[in-house]
Amino acid sequence: MTTSPLRLRGALVGGVAASLLLAGCGGGFSGGSTGSNTAASTQTGPVKLTVMIGSSGDAETNAVKAAASAWAAKTGNTVDVVAASDLTQQLGQGFAGGTPPDVFYTGADVVGDYAKAGYLYAYGKDVASAGFLPALEKAFTYKGTLQCAPKDYSTLALVINTDMWTAAGLTDADIPKDWAGLETVAAKLTKNGVTGLVFSGEHDRVGVFLKQAGGWLVNADGTQVTADTDANAAGLAEVKKLLASGNVKFAKAVDAGWGGEAIGKGKTAMTIEGNWISGAMTKDYPTIKYKVVELPAGPAGKGTLAFTNCWGIAAKSKNQAAAVDLVKAFISTDQQMAFAKAFGVMPSTTEANAKYKAEYPANAAFAAGGDYGQGPVNFPGWGPVKTAYNNDIANLANVDPKSVLGTLQKNATAAMSGS
């Protein structure tokens, strides 16, 4: 309200060019008057919040809309839920223009970048009492501060086409418990143009083997790069061995965009995917019968990856208090269970997670991963490093795992030190 006379005067003084500029950029370049005010501010009375989500589909969008309007009706505020078509890019415009959405999905792999750039209002202390799963809390902690409330999570598990499984003469007793078992069943399931196991050739799938071998790319508190260890090399070597056997392929090699498509189109009998696969199977491939089991353990025991988003609140939001209140409504046990029912994610709090395990036994393998799943690497600057690492993984069949990890160590260390 208070800025409009100022802006009007500025436009008059600045002449035609300046006013066109202001109009064109939605006030984004009108100087630091709105930009520099990043302190938490609270408006009184009913407010209008904008929530921007990167939705997996109508089910998710509608569920978030329903939850938001329930909160709006209770508190007398209004909430506008926007499903972004390209969340990263649309958020980027919002931040640059000084008018970001109040609440938005923030992936664990970008939280470091966002926090470092000052995009986020770190309200972690206000919601920590909800009791989040420790791995999730760690995923959104930057420099010791919880940046935002974990929204939900997903983990990776082994998805098996049961018809192919029984056709190959396999029973429940054959479900692989270790790498050797995985190699055996993959060999048995490979026939008639079907590949035994197919998964995406990228860090977010291959990482489970690193974890199972007892390694990981960074140390426990994420302050040091530990990529070039023997454990990681053993994990990658196992993937390379599987690929060399011909019974295991990356999704692109069988013309599939991801593991769900490969198993849905009958190109593979097994895949490594997260709980979002259930929605895709129901919607796109309803005839495929499948079940989900925990991933086999490696030499260092069980290991999987956990993926998670949080409800980020913009540092520039004028309604931070209301936004925190909205997020509290989103992460309540009942609401998280409703989300789980609507689009298959798993609740982020200990209490709701226990309830989920009891209510969805078919997804027990995914939920079990919550206890030992590894959250994403989240230091700022990780993005391009990961892209380069993914390129190497896609080419893993032709390269030496140790040299891949050596390059990764070098690049990641440089990125972490902020060069």
């Binding site: 035609v16 060019a17 066109l20 500029l21 064109g24 984004g28 370049f29 009108s30 100087g31 630091g32 930009g35 520099s36 990263t88 890019q89 980027g92 931040f95 640059a96 000084g98 970048d113 966002y114 470092k116 750039a117 000052g118 995009y119 692109k252 090699a253 069988v254 013309d255 540092a315 520039k316 600057g381 993005g383 391009p384 490093v385 892209t387 380069a388 390129n391 896609a394 080419n395 690049n411 440089a414 990125a415 060069s419």
Partner: protein, 362 residues
Amino acid sequence: MSASAIKRAPGRGGIHGREAVAGWLFTAPLIVILGVFLFIPIVMALYVSLTNWNGNGSPFAGGDNAQFVGLRNYTSLFTDEGLTRQTFMQSLNNNFWYVLLVVPIQTATSFLLALVVNNRFLKGRSFFRTAFYFPSVTSSIAISVVFLVLFANSGVVNSLLKLVGIDGPQWFNDARGIFHLGGGEAPAWATGQILGRSLWEWTAGPSVAMCVIVILAVWTTTGTFMLMFLAAMQDLPVEVDEAAALDGVSPWQKLRHVTIPMLRPTFFLVITLGLIGTWQVFDQIYVMGKGQPGGTTLTPAFLSYQQSFTNLKYGSGAAMAFVVFVIIILLTWFQRWLMSEERTERSRLRRAQRAAAPGGAA
């Protein structure tokens, strides 16, 4: 206008006195529009490329979010050993091969197609003109998706190749450069590093995946350039054609010595537009894998976007864009020099003199 303004003594009105004012007045709307939507944004982007703006708030507000860093973004692209330079150099390398393939092929193809559809004795000319132009008016995104299907591992192209006994590559999954398809290790001469990439990598050629994008680009842009050639051809004076016919030239001689020289301005236009367009390729890259496989389809234009919006290094991203800007300017300038009338005229004279000299080839 400026010349007359200089000549005119101050204070002396005269009949042309107010022409300058009127001129400025008439051009003012365009100057304002170009200024606001073209010039000022470019200057703003140039300023951003001199900051370390992280995308938080206005880049002109200063402070921690947008410190002025001088030329550091530029120098680090070329001198700082690390991932950014490596990726940027790879993208320049990719784009270089892309331009080298696309520009000559699309210019030659569109010229040939124009020759064909300009033929007065061709039946169904308008059908062919429309058919050849069709890819150019279709959305590049839609065409990219069609190509994704055509070149899938078990797609139409590989099925056709299989009919003739060739096991087609995994087009979009094949990061090998086409000069390295035979495999093998880098020879000793190729292990040296230039700007963070070994000579072996620099000379690998476009990857198999990039070749698909080359085919796509040629296929989509040829129609537009064909139209330009066609328009120019129809503008050629008929008398010259007739004079050439009277002199009894063969069709090939007519093409080589009459048509092509007269179309020089069109060739200049087509090649210039081709150079600019190919150095800025973005949408096909965005749809067809975002640099995958192995970063071999990354282009500076796409990398600049990624560096800005995904990696939140807007300054560095803007610097990349300006490096490409300079490359385009230099190439266009070089090409202008190469195709300039004077230069070619001089070399033709030299050739003629040599031919006339005793002992020269008759």
